[in-house]
Subunit: 415 residues, 2 copies
């Protein structure tokens, strides 16, 4: 285990008490020991990682100087294949880096390798296991990134979320996952599933690391976590699907809400079926966005994804437009909830990571907020009946991400 | 000149009175004769086009069976290079087709070749000239697509619009350009400049062709132009930059507005500087979206684009967020204008195509609506002082694209 955080690593490297080469070597040893079970990595070239580390040691400064980062394998890298967990793209090396990868390189970080994704960040799983119990899923679609961070392979990793693909695996693996406000972080060089909701997300083991990572990917000076904030006004949003949460999740949320003095907050009745709109939008867009794969390589698409695409073909344009229009109203409604509170809490997932690798879990507690475009953070605040992590999801006002991260630190200290 | 429209071509091919091979051969001859002056094409492989044509002749059905289409060179094609008019990408062939290209192939069309774009669909021009007068720009960034359709090289072409890159060149070249409602058409496989506004657009010489093309790219049955609609309620929106339109453009718009009995419509005062918000959003996003090109190939970026990127680095996150928030309000405001009218008219550009190839023209009359996300059509309804085409831009309610296209046909008959 390499428990050192990115923030600590940068400080130590700058102070000369650590080199990136030693850090990356230690991470590689951890991976070598653990990945036969965890299976977080789909592409890892130790020599390339060490070359980058030595270059970082020679470099001057950089916000993430020498820090190794895991990159979900739907995100382009010019020096490693980007396979999308699809035989269509197996072994194919893109011409360039995704913007987020380039921004990390500009900060002198080390692009460690590519982490396992479900097929095209959809449902069909990869081989990754949950580091807490290999008989369970790590969640998806950012399976490898969550597992790699949780298991100490790297301090930071990129994920993406269309439904619940950052927050859910982070919660299942017991780490911090962060989905920024929709639109803040560049999606250039990331395979698009649904342009209306696809969001680049960040994973780490500390909120300080999330704040640092966010600054790098925004190409802005990071805004550090503020540990001196006043007690925030907290809302408890059970969401319209509360009854689908498992008992231990409901108990954890009720306990945390009570401890934090959270006020009950509910959606207006016209949004009780908002998840259907998420389904209509993502289904309609996905059906068209894989037009090339469907035309030229239909037999290389999994049966699971093909069934989703074919079912999505039945969504009408009128249904899509109605969903888009209701989403505009929903975003305004969610914004208005923050007139009287600073943050909402709700489950990060229905419960612990499901058993087996076939089903990566139910994303609906996340899809609501992906559609709303709000920033979300999952914090590892509990343990379920099977001994696996449970997350609490914090939801902030759109564009108030820095505030959300500081509130999350406050919640970590007070929950 | 090949004046046959796509709609006519498909009918003739289905009736057996035309073959795709003959049609494509005629288009290739037109190109061979004219492109030394027009310079609309950056990649054209006659043998490949003819192979596709013969395959289309052997195929059964397909909404665009046998019809050749021009593809802007920021849109991926698996069998032709996609160069973005940048030495960074010169000669590079993508792994797959953009979704819009794949959807055309599914309709049995012929992907004719790649049309000239400005560098990364930004400002730095390509060599294309205006087919009406080679001493003038065709407009940009979809320069080659507009010129190719106007000059009879192909009946249909794809463009993209971030500011005014579809409507403006279509107006300058005297054809019909159509920018759909933001989000309707898939952007997968199109180099992203600004995710908040980038829109795939369509160019043709008839509205029937636009309607047919739209259906194909939506993967839906086309909605034909309705020629029996009642007289629409028309609004005349001079926009906050009316004074920047040239006299002949102002005169054309006043004349058309009077003839159509248009009512004056103006933005609420708080949106008089909405173009500044378009600039803040596109600048902020562009600065980050080319992070890879900036890091690894800075000396292959034009001085013009580099200056834009560096200037954009000065836009703060707060400014970006303020622009995003005002845009939400602006979209709602523009929607509300359509409570009392069916369509707005306004200039497609300040005037005729500027002289020379260096400056592709002022996009601001388009950027307003790109930000609003509304569907827009430009119709060639006039001629300017220099004998070049002038367009009238029609703007519809978001998601009411089919209605807009039928109203445009009504305007063509009545203006």
């Amino acid at each position: 285990m390499n428990p050192i955080s990115a923030t600590e690593a940068v400080e130590a490297i700058e102070a000369g008490t650590l080199t990136s080469e030693r850090l990356v070597q230690a991470c590689l040893e951890r991976i070598a020991g653990r990945d036969p079970v965890v299976k977080a990595w789909v592409h890892l070239d130790p020599a390339l990682a060490l070359r980058q580390a030595r270059a970082a040691d020679q470099a001057r400064g950089g916000l993430l100087r020498g820090v190794p980062i895991g990159v979900k394998d739907i995100i382009d890298t010019h020096d490693m294949p980007t396979g999308h967990n699809s035989p269509i793209f197996e072994g194919k090396v893109p011409f360039g880096d995704a913007a987020c990868v380039a921004l990390c390189r500009s900060a002198n970080s080390v692009i460690m390798g590519k982490t396992v994704t479900t097929e095209f960040a959809n449902r069909h799983p990869g081989p990754t296991t949950n580091p807490h119990n290999a008989n369970h899923t790590p969640g998806g679609s950012s399976s490898g990134s969550a597992a790699a961070v949780a298991d100490g392979h790297v301090p930071l990793a990129f994920g993406t979320q269309t439904g619940g693909s950052v927050i859910r695996p982070a919660a299942y693996c017991g780490i911090i996952g962060y989905k920024p406000t929709f639109g803040d972080l560049s999606r250039v060089g990331i395979k698009m599933q649904c342009h209306s909701v696809d969001t680049l997300g960040l994973m780490a083991r500390t909120l300080d690391d999330i704040a640092l990572f966010r600054g790098v990917v925004l190409a802005l000076p990071p805004v550090p976590i503020d540990r001196d904030i006043a007690a925030p006004r907290i809302g408890f949003c059970r969401t319209p699907i509360w009854d689908d949460a498992e008992p231990d999740t409901r108990a954890l949320l009720e306990k945390v809400a009570a401890r934090l003095g959270a006020a009950d907050v509910a959606f207006a009745p016209e949004f009780k079926d908002i998840l259907d709109d998420h389904g209509a939008i993502t289904g309609w867009e996905t059906a068209r966005n894989y037009a090339d794969e469907r035309l030229r390589n239909p037999d290389k698409i999994s049966a699971e994804l093909m069934a989703i695409l074919k079912k999505s073909d039945g969504i009408t344009l009128d249904r899509y437009v109605a969903a888009q229009r209701r989403t505009v109203a929903f975003k305004a409604h969610v914004d208005s909830l923050f007139d009287s509170i600073d943050v909402l809490i709700c489950p990060s997932a229905p419960g612990e990571a499901p058993k087996g690798q076939e089903f990566t879990g139910d994303p609906r507690f996340n899809s609501i907020w992906t559609l709303a475009g709000t920033p979300c953070v999952t914090l590892p605040l509990g343990t379920g009946a099977q001994g696996l992590p449970l997350g609490v999801q914090l939801v902030g006002l759109r564009h108030a991400d820095d505030k959300l991260l500081s509130i999350a630190q406050w919640v970590l200290s007070h929950a």
